[in-house]
Structure formats: structure tokens, C-alpha cells
Subunit: 248 residues, 2 copies
Amino acid sequence: MNSTYFNRRTIRKYESRDIDENLLDRLLTAGTRTSTTGNMQVYSIIVTRDREMKRMLAPAHFNQPMVMEAPVVLTFCADFNRFNKWCRQRQADPGYDNFLSFMTAAIDALLAAQTICNAAEEEGLGICYLGTATYNADKIIEVLDLPKGVVPVATVTLGWPAVIPDQPDRLPLEAVVHYERYRDFTPGMIDDLYREKEARSDSQQFISENNKTTLAQVFTDVRYKKGDNEYFSAKYLEVIRNQGFLSH
Amino acid sequence: MNSTYFNRRTIRKYESRDIDENLLDRLLTAGTRTSTTGNMQVYSIIVTRDREMKRMLAPAHFNQPMVMEAPVVLTFCADFNRFNKWCRQRQADPGYDNFLSFMTAAIDALLAAQTICNAAEEEGLGICYLGTATYNADKIIEVLDLPKGVVPVATVTLGWPAVIPDQPDRLPLEAVVHYERYRDFTPGMIDDLYREKEARSDSQQFISENNKTTLAQVFTDVRYKKGDNEYFSAKYLEVIRNQGFLSH
């Protein structure tokens, strides 16, 4: 298989040159060939190239510079709006105002997103997922005019790499893969799986820069804090409800 | 980019030959190179190859024959269990028992799943997503011994194609892609976007076989019914709660 799968890194610095219309179209078309529940295609992709639209989107992504610097920003949404409209226009009563349907649509959106990322990387483009799509879905809905039935689940910035960073570490395969049954982790296994990551010089730097004593504390106390997670959880659930997916 | 992106179809009939261990390892490794929030890798993949395990999993997938016939079944899970254990072992207080963290972990799992599917298809393998992973997550948890912090989000069957079906239709690109702002659909646009799909002979056959008057009714009244969706919504939310993701 293509070596890109193994050599990839997330790209956060892009050249100023644009992505050719035709290439973008092929990427989007590849995305639409991805598996979709019952061939319903209950997702949508909002393409942002306009500078003023990027400026309006940027705060929702905490002004991460990739939003302004990437030639293309893609917002992937769980979307039952089109499908519901079709049903109503065809004497069919849609029953998709519930959490399962949100998940179905979110899965459709995320699988299409990842196909587009894989295909883009194969073409030499660089991508970066912005987790802020779920944090500030309400603002994104406002800026992109998303109607009821549509919820952002992922944002990807896309462009030609200007800086290719070192490839990040990953845990050993056995941290992620289980055979036949989940083999839960003993303290000794956790130590083994995280030993190499914890020993890295960049991990040590994270710890000292943040005045922490362990790498895990950098995650819990600085990067992904309980209070923030709870705040954004409530906000995202509210968005899902407002967009019509928690009526039952 | 690779033509597989454009020519792919979901494969439901597999040859009996197995998938080489080495190839499966490369696919899983490719999967772990996929983007993951903050490099936390908060997902897991359960590999099922054992016949008896497949037999136990099958009812959770409504006994769809792919589960028994595919040499490999992959269950992709949102997984904060390993990460939480690491935090607790390193004097860090994890705050991931909330809905946002579930979504973060589900996104990690789904992106890895799709990379594996794309890489597998490039190698000539065929894949099929089973939506039943969210329907019957409770049964899957039981069979695979999934601990708290772990929730199935997708199941993929994987094998060498025995029958390659016709490529399914997709809606025109403009049904899915919006530029700059969401352009909501007028009744005329809905008619245009669905015209070709509705005119297909297989669509006509679906309608008559199910004694319906429109294709949309086949979805709402037969395939993805309101009552079922609501039943499985409540069940999946309960699973997410039981696995510790709705404590806040």
C-alpha cells in the first residue's frame, strides 16, 4: 500500500499557493464514494476558500493560524436536513430526530473526511484536523448558515506543506489493538506501553515548560482539562438538541 | 490518486482464504498513523478471527452473514480506558467522563477505521461497515469484554472479494458539497438531486417489493424506522452512560 500511510504527519504550515479546482473536485468526489449508511449520504461538506469567510470562522477555531493560512478549510457535518426534506416531499415521515441518527450521520461525515484526507496526502497535500469543530459548533453553525438537522463534527485545513515537521511518536501497536477479547491493562503494561513516549526529549520539555511532574499531568491540567471538557460537553449536547437530534 | 477511491464498492461476499498476518499488521499500523486528538490515541481495535468469537458476535450484528464469512472482523471503539489508567498511575486526574470526550474518542476510532479501509481496498481487499455496532453496542461489550471507558462505534468486515457487485449510485456532488455557505434546498433542487436515483430500476424494484409508493418511504417505513431509531438511541445513550461518558 501507499507509503504515505506510514510517513504522514499533520501539516500546520502551508505554502500560499492555492489548490487547483479540479484537484479539489476529485478529492471531494473520492470522499463521496466512501461507505455511507444505507447509501443515505447523510452528511455535508462546507468548503471555505474565501478570505472573509475564513476570518469569520477563525474565532470558532480559537484563531489557530491554519484557518487563515490554508487555502482550503473543510467543515464536515452530520446532515439529515437534505434527507428529511426529500422524505417530506415524497409522502414519507422521517424519524431521524434522535441520537442514533446523529451518530449515523456523524459516522458518515467522519468516514468521508478521512477518505479525503488520505487521498489528499497521497497527492502531496497536508492536512490538519481541528478539534474545535465540536467545541464551538454553535459559532460554526452561525457563520456557515447551517440549518436544523446539520451539526459540524470535524474541520480539516488543507494545503501544500510549507514545513514538514518530525513525525510524531505513536504508542506500540498493542496499546491500541486487542485480539479476540479486550486484554485490560495492568500497571506494568501501562508502564511498558508509555515508557518510550515518556522518555522522549519533547515529552520532558512539555513537562518542564508546564511545571508539571508527569506527562499525563500536561494533558489533564493543561491541554484537555476536566472543566473545559465539561463546559464543551454541555455546549455540544445543546447544539445537537437545538439542531433537532435529541427530540426523542 | 489511487483509482480505488473512485471504483470501490462495499463487499459482502468473501473468499474463504485468510488475510495474511503480516498484511493485517501493516493495515493496523497504517491505521495508527491516522490523525488523533492531541496524539492521545483514545481508541482501540478489537480483531476477531476466531470462529467461536464470530459466532458469539454474530447476533449483535443481526446475524448478517459477513460476520461469519469474513476472515477478519474489526470492532473500532472509542476508548479512554487506557488513557485514564495511565493518568491515574501518573498522579494526574483524568476529566474524560463526559460527552465531549466520548465524541473525541469516537472521532479517533472512526478516522483510524477509514484509513484501514482505504489501505485495505488499495490492497484488493473488500470491506463492509456494519451499522449494528451502535445498535447493539451492549452485546458487543459483553462478548468482547470491553471495560468501562470503551464504547464500540463501528464494525468492519474484511476479506478477499468473492463477488464484486455493481457500484452503487451516489447523489450529484452538489447534494453533499456547499461552497462558503450552506445553500439550503428548495423543493425544485430536491427533485433535481434525487431524480436519477429515483428513476433507477433497482429503486423501482425496492418500491414495488415493499409495496410503497415512493423510494423515501422504503427508508422511513422499512429500512430505518422511527421506532427502531428511537429504541436504539435510548439503548446507545444508556451504553455511553454505563461506560462512564455521561457523568457530567
